[in-house]
């Protein structure tokens, strides 16, 4: 383009832009004008805490203080109730908004509402804009007052008289309910969370004292390699920020990372106190990874109570919950294997007529989680409750003990949630009259002994296998070696190093997406908005708001005959 044409084009652009702005303003309903106030509307008759609790329920669940659902209109004329989808559905729990399917949901948190929004560099603070001489940049909207915010929530028209996208519901709220909601929005993600300052984001990882030095090393080496690599890069960047793929949004977001190791000693009942002491001394933004051989529940509960994120701890004994929010797990662990067995059986036939089922589980949390996963899923699928037998502490399932149980219960299917010590009993089953048709075992509980499954039992034994098909794994796991410098044994059966690597990939993406909005809730929101990841160990890790178990799958396998038996897939990754 010649300079002259360019000049004309610019003139035209200015004309058009000017007219557009002028006319948009003329058509939209004018919002009430008032000065920006730092003080939220007083909620008459309610304490601030009570108003916050009621406002939170409106924001998250779409329920009015009266207990009735909020009423709104979306897409011009579609009535919608708050219990179908709430503010949180789109703006997310931290209020920083989302991007999905080409629709940008703007931030609605306290800090952002109290600031003017600019078309260019919208993430800069007013002080930064001032220092960069950007204060005269065109505004998308001025800061919201309580009055203009109420007007926008009712009409969809913001203080610059711009009408927001029609997917933003227009809410029908009384003055009192509106005041409660605004009171909550003003407090939402207002002050940055502890754990991040102008130069550093601090993380910690939890290790309990029974974890072997080898396993600790498998987790800590890749973690420290990543932190060192990141911090080496940050020497070049400082906190100056860098440009993301889509422009300028990452200004000022870059931070060094630090990792503390929080070692927990003694009985799980004392861990909460120890964790609190660590947190008081060293406030971190989130926990990352983490290792214990036992139940993760005490750490989970601490994180839930303190609203402290915990990203992908290396545990097979997570808390299985539909509503808990602050821990993102790899999977439901042993529970998920029990679940897969139930779904597989259901897929094979009508649960109501599938015959008697017997569960034998070893003593301990692993056997209990496997049994519970099956029990709850089978019941949900309409199956009749299985007979459950739990072995005594340290008891081995001997051939005579198994025969005695089978003669008494006469099951068609046996879920044998025990280790390799039961192989002799299984071997003795083969060819006997009245033996069960199918036996399920957990490959994770069997560990490397899975390949020692007796030849005669292979035909009727189904193995729950919660990882990628071993034949396909090496290619993907090789990728993880980028962070395993300094490790001799890189692929231990415990998969600690490779899963740590996967945790780091998810963390890296989460940090990028969190931008400079270092709120703990926003950290979890950004993790949950990630696209699916193909990483070592699990066939697929997938995310979504409220989804807290990234791997949803578990194969049912059988071991092929012969001295070098191979695992053969007998099911889909995810069984419906």
């Amino acid at each position: 383009m010649s300079p002259r044409v360019l000049l004309r084009f610019r003139t035209l652009r200015c004309w058009t832009l000017g007219l557009c702005l002028l006319v948009t303003a003329a058509f939209a309903t004018p919002p009430p004008q008032s000065k920006v106030t730092d003080k939220p509307i007083k909620v008459s008759g309610l304490s601030s805490d009570k108003a916050l609790a009621l406002g939170e329920r409106m924001y998250r669940e779409g329920i009015l203080p009266s207990g009735e659902p909020m009423q709104a209109v979306v897409s011009t004329d579609i009535p919608v109730v708050g219990t179908s989808f709430s503010c949180m559905s789109c703006h997310l729990r931290g209020g920083l908004g989302s991007w999905e399917g080409g629709i940008v949901t703007l931030p609605t948190n306290g800090a952002k509402l109290a600031q003017a929004r600019y078309w260019k560099f919208p993430n800069l603070s007013p002080e930064e804009r001032q220092s960069m001489s950007l204060k005269v940049a065109p505004q998308a909207r001025p800061a919201y007052t309580d009055e203009t915010l109420a007007h926008m929530l009712r009409t969809g028209v913001d203080p610059s008289r711009r009408e927001l996208h029609y997917v933003m519901p227009r809410y029908d709220l009384s003055d009192q309910d509106m005041a409660i909601l605004i009171h909550y929005l003003r407090s939402l993600s207002m002050d940055l969370s502890p754990g991040a300052d102008a130069t550093t984001i601090r993380f910690a990882t939890v290790i309990t004292d029974e974890v072997s030095p080898e396993d600790q090393r498998d987790m800590l080496v890749p973690m420290n390699n990543y932190i060192n690599l990141h911090n080496q890069l940050s020497k070049g960047f400082g906190t100056r920020g860098y440009y993301s793929v889509d422009g300028d949004e990452m200004i000022g977001a870059y931070r060094r990372l630090s990792l503390s190791v929080w070692k927990l000693h003694g009985a799980p009942g004392t861990w909460a106190v120890q964790l609190q002491a660590y947190l008081d001394k060293d406030p971190v933004l989130a926990l990352v990874g983490g290792l214990t051989y036992g139940d993760w529940k005490p750490i989970h509960t601490f994180c839930e109570t303190r609203k402290l994120p915990c990203l992908l701890p290396l545990t097979e004994l997570p808390v299985v919950s539909d509503s808990d929010w602050y821990t993102q797990y790899f999977s439901k662990g042993y529970y998920q294997e029990g679940q897969a067995a139930a779904r597989f059986l259901h897929q094979k036939g009508d649960p109501a007529s599938s015959g008697r089922i017997l569960t034998i589980s070893q003593d301990g949390a692993e056997g209990a989680a496997l049994a519970r996963g099956f029990r709850e899923t089978w019941s949900e699928l309409g199956g009749e409750a299985a007979v459950e037998v739990q072995l005594e502490k340290g008891e081995v399932l001997s051939p005579s003990r198994l025969q005695a149980i089978l003669q008494k219960e006469k099951p068609v299917t046996v879920l044998c949630w025990t280790g390799g010590s039961s192989f002799q009993a299984l071997d003795a089953l083969a060819g006997r009259d009245g033996q069960p048709q199918v036996v399920f075992m957990s490959s994770r509980l069997l560990g490397s002994k899975v390949y020692d499954l007796p030849e005669k039992a292979r035909g009727f034994t189904w193995l729950t296998y919660p990882y990628r098909d071993p034949k396909e794994e090496p290619n993907v796991s090789k990728y993880a070696e980028t962070l395993m410098a300094g490790m001799k044994e890189r692929h231990s059966p415990s998969r600690i190093a490779t899963r740590t690597f996967s945790m780091i990939q998810v963390l890296k993406q989460g940090l990028m997406d969190m931008n400079r909005f270092f709120y703990r809730d926003n950290f979890m929101d950004r993790i949950s908005m990630q696209r699916d990841q193909v990483l070592p160990d699990y066939l697929r890790l997938s995310f979504g708001p409220g989804q807290r178990y990234a791997s949803k799958g578990c194969y049912i396998m059988q071991l092929s005959p012969g001295p070098k038996g191979e695992l053969m897939r007998m099911s889909e990754w995810v069984i419906h």
Binding site: L19, T76, V80, W99, G101, G102
Partner: protein, 192 residues
């Protein structure tokens, strides 16, 4: 181009800018409508009750059918699409109650029958609205068959498909619709 032409173009654009924002502010952006021929793949999916569903048989049963693609934890598009379905069901006259609304999950790993049941309950769905999940390979086949394939569920787009019972063709509506627009489309296509 002469100076006069530039000025005229500027004036016309300016005039358009006077009208467009006012119009666009009142109603959703117009949906992109096209008539398409699709071959429904031979796949068996699973509905919210855990029952197996032969997709081809359901879609080509001769009953009025509307199809969309959603997932249970979607943030923005699916809630609006589903509010549209719920509103349509609420407005359906009794004699048209046979219209079959189908939502196919694009997050089949998370959308188990239980998740789908809970989702439909949230939208106060009535019988006649089924949410289907299945093997990822099968879901991919369905998405591809309807020109709706997306590798990343977070990047999906709003799409509603109405089957024309007479011709077997599909009316493809790209974009989010208002209630009146959706009902008008259904009337036009004799679904109502």
């Amino acid at each position: 181009m002469t100076r006069r032409t530039w000025n005229l173009a500027g004036l016309l654009l300016g005039l358009w800018s006077m009208v467009a924002p006012g119009l666009l502010a009142q109603a959703p952006a117009p949906t992109k409508r096209s008539i398409e021929t699709y071959t429904v793949p031979e796949v068996t999916l699973v509905n919210q009750n855990g029952a197996k569903v032969n997709l081809k048989a359901v879609l080509e049963s001769g009953e009025p059918v509307i199809l969309d693609f959603i997932f249970g934890t979607c943030t923005t598009i699916c809630p609006v699409l589903s509010a549209g379905y719920a509103n349509l069901q609420a407005k359906l006259p009794v004699e048209s109650a046979k219209v079959h609304l189908i939502s196919v999950s694009i997050d089949p790993e998370n959308d188990t029958p239980k998740v789908m049941r809970d989702y439909l309950k949230r939208y106060r769905a009535k019988p006649g609205w089924d949410f289907l999940t299945g093997r990822r390979e099968d879901i991919d086949k369905v998405m591809r068959a309807f020109g709706a394939y997306i590798p990343n569920k977070m990047a999906h787009y709003p799409l509603t498909l109405i089957r024309d019972r007479k011709t077997g063709k599909w009316i493809r509506l790209f974009g989010l619709m208002s209630s009146s627009e959706f009902i008008e489309e259904c009337r036009k296509d004799e679904v109502l």
